[in-house]
């Protein structure tokens, strides 16, 4: 099964044409090359892929691993893990 990190990596690379080598757990979203608007766009894509709903209040992230953790938390809460 695809892990959340793998799914996110694929979406980021597809949507923003970013080199996957830039995506590491500790890389900030800025390091990866996605800004706050891109993050919203990415979150929408994740919601569609996983059929989950991520509340706006939760989207405060500093690095890639934070995003993975957030999505895993929401997946567990919403029974879609």
């Amino acid at each position: 099964m695809t892990t959340t990190a793998e799914l996110l990596t694929r979406l980021i690379c597809e949507k923003f044409e970013i080199d996957p080598a830039k995506i590491t757990p500790q890389a900030t979203l800025e390091d990866i090359g996605i800004d706050s608007l891109d993050t919203f766009d990415l979150v929408f894509a994740v919601e569609d892929e996983l059929d989950i709903k991520i509340e706006n209040d939760n989207v405060k992230l500093s690095n890639f691993q934070d995003l993975v953790d957030l999505i895993d938390r929401v997946r567990a809460q919403q029974g879609k893990a």
């Binding site: 949507k15 923003f16 044409e17 608007l37 919203f40 766009d41 929408f44």
Partner: protein, 414 residues
């Protein structure tokens, strides 16, 4: 009086070509950019003609950039790139707090608005992509140009319908003239050929009936059988500079922007007045400190609507007197359609090229003139070898705002 203003670069995306030389050559040859609308919704429309551009977004922008650029901003950016390149402007060498942008547009990101209304109302979508507001807003094109070149000077978007980009160019001239900026990228962009927008225009009953024999000949300004305007899309952007800066850097000065006059009829949302149009022409002449005799060509507003063309003819006669009958006046809209917020900018490219090449583009599809339209409309093909020292571009809008620009040959002006 203030500083003189040089035009040192121009760029265009139009239904008659995506560079100034092709555009002007097509105008001079009397070719039409009007045709059957290429859109998947065309069968559902009553109006099936338009003046569309040939434009491949992916040839100009990365996929990621396109996700946040409405078609109108794409046109504007491509035209701006051409203008900056043509001007030989090395922006890194300039104080970019002294470089600004003014753009005109009627409907801004009309495609983004239409697409997302369809998602919300037709498809019942409950959420939209995060860029919709930023793509749809009227000021997006001007902002995108500023971001592309890190321009921190004045950044303004004018929306006065059909005269928007004449206002943008004229106001940019004033910003330079009066010292608020040294360099301006000024022009207009429009991309409104959407299902919803065309339907709204149909309701206004000002769109040309399709010529059954030749759809490309549907727009017939000043003709007895004219039936209205043809909607178009595109953009044009100019580099305007303080004259001394342009001279100091050895720029190729295409023309001097010498006059701008504007005002409002103050009477009716669609019906133009002779007094309002004539006042704008007189203001531009006074601003340029030129006598009417100095004008060698007028690029008319010439929409092809019943009311505009006879009103404009009367206004030109009011300003130019007897000489009006010996003054070449043409409506290039007969070929490139009505680009609304980009119309004046695209037509100003025709004016700058006319000055440079000493040639007057024609009015096409004018076989028999309306008796009320009795000027020299340069019917059919363009005229070369016409001595031109100064040219005038007229723009008269729904909502009543008139704007008139005058450009002069640099040799004459200096």
């Amino acid at each position: 009086m203030g500083r003189r203003v040089a035009v040192t670069g121009q760029g265009i995306v139009s239904p008659l070509g995506n560079d100034p030389d092709s555009f002007f050559a097509n105008l001079m040859a009397g070719r039409s950019g009007v045709g059957r609308l290429r859109a998947d919704f065309v069968d559902r429309l009553d109006c099936k003609i338009a003046a569309q551009v040939e434009f491949d977004p992916q040839a100009h922008f990365a996929k990621r950039e396109l996700a946040s650029l409405d078609r109108v901003s794409q046109f504007a950016l491509v035209a701006a790139r051409q203008a900056v390149a043509a001007a030989g402007l090395d922006l890194a060498q300039l104080d970019r707090s002294r470089v600004g942008v003014t753009m005109g547009t009627g409907m801004g990101g009309a495609n983004s608005i239409d697409d997302n209304y369809a998602r919300v109302y037709r498809d019942q979508a409950t959420r939209l992509p995060p860029f919709v507001v930023l793509m749809a807003m009227n000021g997006a094109a001007a902002s995108q140009i500023a971001m592309a070149y890190a321009l921190a000077g004045p950044n303004l978007t004018y929306s006065t319908a059909c005269s928007s980009s004449a206002v943008a160019i004229g106001e940019a001239m004033r910003l330079i003239r009066h010292g608020y900026a040294d360099t301006m990228l000024a022009g207009g962009a429009e991309a409104l050929l959407t299902y919803g927008t065309i339907r709204a225009w149909e309701a206004l009953r000002t769109l040309a009936k399709e010529d059954p024999a030749d759809p490309s000949a549907s727009c017939k300004p000043f003709a007895a059988d004219r039936s209205g305007l043809v909607l178009g899309e595109g953009a044009a952007v100019f580099v305007l500079e303080a004259w001394d800066q342009a001279v100091a850097r050895g720029a190729n000065i295409l023309a001097e922007l010498v006059g701008y006059g504007s005002g409002n009829d103050g009477s009716h949302i669609t019906q133009p007045t002779v007094a309002g149009q004539a006042a704008a022409m007189r203001r531009a002449l006074a601003d340029a400190d030129l006598a009417a005799e100095a004008i060698g060509y007028i690029n008319a507003h010439g929409t092809g609507t019943l009311l505009n063309d006879k009103t404009e003819t009367a206004a030109i006669k009011a300003v130019f007197g007897e000489r009006a009958h010996r003054l070449p006046v043409s409506s290039t809209k007969s070929m490139h359609g009505h680009l609304m917020g980009a119309a004046a900018a695209v037509e100003f490219v025709a004016c700058i090229k006319a000055l440079g090449e000493q040639a007057v583009p024609p009015t096409q599809h004018l076989v028999q003139a309306d008796p009320d339209c009795d000027l020299d409309y340069v019917s059919g093909r363009g005229r070369s070898g016409v001595p031109l020292h100064a040219v005038m571009s007229n723009s008269f809008a729904f909502g009543g705002t008139s704007a008139v620009l005058i450009a002069a040959r640099p040799a004459t002006a200096s």
